[in-house]
């Protein structure tokens, strides 16, 4: 893959990369760091990608790993991630705050399969590959995530 081709494909994925990183880190500055590192690693390792059609899942996998590395480093620095979430700017009014809150309250292991499947449109096989879990586990977590989201949204409706 040439330099230009790589850059074009990454730029096409920009929104996707942001949402994946945001779903793990919930912080724009951290997202930017993780994405930068992932795109750089992807650049250096792109020759190791055997199937061109898997590019997006491959880069998403690198990004998820980078996000987790970042989380681990933050834990080592004793910064509890959830307490440190400071949005870089006020959230847009167009956002569905209830949905956002429901997703934030959901454990990451459920949130990520749900987003990768229903928002980013990855097949379950790819969801498993990106998250480093087997197909059966991805499927089971997806199922549990749907139930959890339904409950959380219902609880939110009742509060309103």
């Amino acid at each position: 893959m040439s330099d230009q081709e790589y850059m074009a494909r990454v730029q096409q994925m920009e929104r996707k990369l942001y949402r994946i990183a945001h779903a793990v880190l919930w912080n724009d500055a951290d997202c930017a760091d993780a994405i930068q590192e992932a795109v750089f690693k992807g650049w250096m390792k792109r020759d190791s990608l055997r199937e061109d059609g898997r590019f997006e899942a491959w880069l998403a996998r690198i990004l998820v790993n980078e996000c987790r590395n970042l989380q681990r480093r933050q834990k080592l620095r004793a910064l509890p991630l959830d307490d440190e979430v400071v949005p870089g700017r006020p959230d847009s009014m167009a956002e569905d705050m209830q949905l956002r809150e429901a997703l934030r309250r959901m454990p990451e292991k459920y949130r990520m399969p749900l987003l990768l499947r229903y928002l980013e449109g990855y097949a379950l096989d790819d969801v498993g590959r990106i998250l480093g879990i087997p197909y059966a586990l991805a499927k089971s977590r997806m199922h549990q995530a749907r139930s959890a989201l339904r409950k959380l949204l219902k609880a939110g409706d009742e509060q309103i």
Binding site: I35, D91, A94, D96, R100
Partner: protein, 362 residues
């Protein structure tokens, strides 16, 4: 029915993300240039060295320097056996030793008391399909020199066992890891247990490790435990006849590939002790099929001693595939598994356990 648009939960992509992508491209391009120039420098140095060597050889020839009959440039010290047709591959490379019928090639001709070993080249030994000796071809050599290994050093079987475990379908995450064919043997002060460590490395600092324990209670040394990451060790010897079952404590990656009932069992434990750290372990039978699963949450009692210390479930898969709950444990009154047991027993193993739904609408 309400259709959920998950994108609405996310803000618009901020500029800092776009900038970071551009920075990554620039960083990548710079790094690429650096690597190219480094390669060019190395090539230039290699070319200069080759030129120097050529000039030196020429000068030696002109001065009439004597050359030993049996040594020519690029040849090893030993002579090839007269019956073998000498080839480039068989006459270059480091010298190793192997027995005619042996499976391994060795660094020393008397490794582990070996007799009748003959010298050959590394490439020749590899061409014959021989493997590096797990005893003398790595760090284990240092351990042997230190006198730690004694007769356990001659236990090549342990490496086969190790590979068999990592070759198990459940360990498909490990092929990317390189096995460091080395081990450290220890003998406990009571003299009963020999521990052989095989390390695997993913090239980073955090190295998962596998320990194969050889128990010697009855004088017969038998691989009985595989411990991954050291911390996940459970001993089921009191519950199951372990004569034919090997116990495996497993790493997180290994667990992720375990059969579904194990995860369901863990969920049952988490339901009771949600904040306690949890562990999973599996046992393999002699054919390395998963036979026993153990899910456990370790908690600590509260001030009134009300919260039990652990919740655990153990299940056994019979050779014909039946899942049988062996034991459940939760506090003084036990663990009412009536509901969960049904869930565990009916959780199918395999891909199609849960129907997939195509869109997210409730």
């Amino acid at each position: 029915m309400k259709r959920i648009d998950l994108d609405r939960a996310f803000p618009e992509t901020p500029d800092c993300v776009r900038a970071s992508i551009q920075l990554a491209f620039q960083k990548g391009a710079r790094q690429q240039m650096k690597m190219r120039s480094k390669t060019m420098s190395l090539l230039a140095v290699a070319a200069a060295l080759a030129l120097l060597a050529g000039v030196a050889a020429l000068a030696a020839g002109r001065l009439g320097a004597p050359r030993p009959d049996n040594v020519t440039l690029g040849q090893p010290v030993f002579k090839a056996t007269p019956t073998a047709e000498p080839t480039v591959a068989s006459t270059t490379g480091p010298t190793v030793y192997c027995a005619k019928e042996g499976k391994y090639y060795h660094l020393y001709e008397d490794c582990s008391g070996m007799q009748n070993a003959s010298a050959t080249t590394l490439s020749e030994a590899q061409a014959q399909g021989k493997q590096p000796c797990p005893v003398c071809m790595g760090e284990q050599n240092e351990a042997a020199i230190d006198g730690e290994l004694s007769n356990l050093a001659a236990e090549p079987e342990s490496y086969d066992v190790f590979l068999k475990v990592f070759g198990h379908p459940l360990s498909t995450f490990f092929p990317g890891f390189e096995f460091e064919r080395s081990y450290i043997a220890q003998t406990r002060p009571d003299g009963f247990v020999d521990v052989v460590d095989w390390y695997v490395s993913d090239g980073k600092q955090e190295q998962p490790a596998c320990t194969v324990c050889y128990l010697d209670y009855d004088g017969v040394r038998k691989a009985s435990q595989f411990i991954f990451d050291f911390k996940h060790l459970f001993d089921h010897r009191s519950d199951v006849d372990f004569n034919q079952i090997n116990n495996a404590g497993v790493s997180e990656k290994f667990i992720q590939l375990a059969p579904e009932p194990l995860h369901t069992a863990l969920a049952a434990c988490r339901k009771r002790l949600p904040t306690a750290p949890d562990y999973l372990s599996i046992c393999l039978d002699e054919d390395y099929n998963v036979r026993l699963g153990h899910a456990i949450c370790w908690g600590s009692e509260d001030q009134n001693g009300v919260t039990p210390q652990k919740a655990s479930v153990e299940w056994l898969q019979t050779p014909d595939g039946e899942i049988r709950i062996l034991k459940s444990d939760y506090g003084p009154d036990g663990f009412d598994l009536e509901e969960d047991t049904e869930e565990i027993l009916h959780a199918p193993i395999g891909k199609d356990s849960i129907a997939e739904e195509d869109d997210l609408s409730f």
